[in-house]
């Protein structure tokens, strides 16, 4: 099975390197990380006893995340190959090698569900507070519906804690440093790429 179910190998900066992430994708990744960490800090710290005026920072970071999510979806659908992130059972059976490992795809899907739940409910919750963007209308929904919206938003926040811990851990362990460097600099060496392909074919799923 060829490696290039994705665009690995396009536009190499040097012959011994392969481009893994374009600059715009790295920028979106780190801006998304900054937004998610800001949202977690402003949304969760007040519940742990750290009191500050968090609402303004929280909804502005949330709107920035909405913009990033829309951009990421459009870029994934229009300019990239959506199937590079798609998960199939065949990958487990045949040890297919694509741009992302099965574990990386599962992590992406979990993050996707978490972020979509958070931003959709978060946008609805904007109607509960005063912002320059929307007319406040806390009676848009009944109390029961608002309760469900709060629960979904809260569950997304809680799952974000677990997912961020797991994501950072797997990004920092030695065998995955090449992925972290690729997300910072954009490239992997060809020898790292060969070792990665051999590892996945041998059954090592790279639990990232």
């Amino acid at each position: 099975m060829a490696v290039a179910a994705d665009r690995i190998g396009e536009l190499p900066a040097r012959p011994d390197r392969v481009l893994r992430h374009a600059g715009v994708d790295r920028l979106v990744h780190w801006l998304t990380a900054a937004c998610v960490l800001t949202l977690m800090a402003t949304g969760l710290l007040p519940h742990l006893g750290v009191q500050f005026d968090w609402v303004g920072i929280h909804w502005i970071a949330g709107l920035a995340l909405v913009v990033l999510v829309i951009f990421h979806i459009l870029r994934s659908v229009i300019w990239q190959r959506l199937r590079t992130i798609w998960f199939s059972i065949a990958e487990l059976r045949t040890h297919q090698v694509g741009k992302y490992s099965v574990a990386q795809k599962l992590m992406h899907h979990a993050m996707t569900v978490m972020v979509l739940c958070a931003v959709i409910t978060g946008v609805l919750m904007l109607k509960k507070i005063r912002t320059p963007l929307l007319l406040r209308d806390p009676y848009l929904f009944g109390a029961d519906t608002w309760g469900v919206i709060y629960v979904v938003h809260g569950l997304a926040a809680l799952s974000a804690i677990t997912l961020v811990i797991v994501h950072v851990y797997f990004g920092l362990i030695p065998e995955n440093r090449m992925y972290l460097r690729a997300m910072i600099t954009g490239w992997m060496s060809r020898s790292e790429q060969r070792a990665r392909v051999a590892g996945i074919r041998a059954g090592d799923k790279h639990l990232t």
Binding site: Y150, L158, T162, Y169
Partner: protein, 49 residues
């Protein structure tokens, strides 16, 4: 440990207010459990090379 936060509306009826924030520590514990589980797996797994 409660999973949901409940309140009362102006008529005194119970209404859902969100998830219990005590679950923050459950979420942290789950993340730490994954780290410990993977660290143990790394230590005992057979090498593929």
């Amino acid at each position: 440990m409660e999973i949901f936060r409940m309140g009362r509306d102006i008529w005194g009826r119970p209404v859902l207010e969100g998830v219990s924030w005590h679950l923050i520590w459950v979420a942290v514990g789950l993340g730490v459990a994954v780290i410990i589980g993977h660290a143990v797996y790394r230590a005992i797994r057979p090498r593929s090379t």
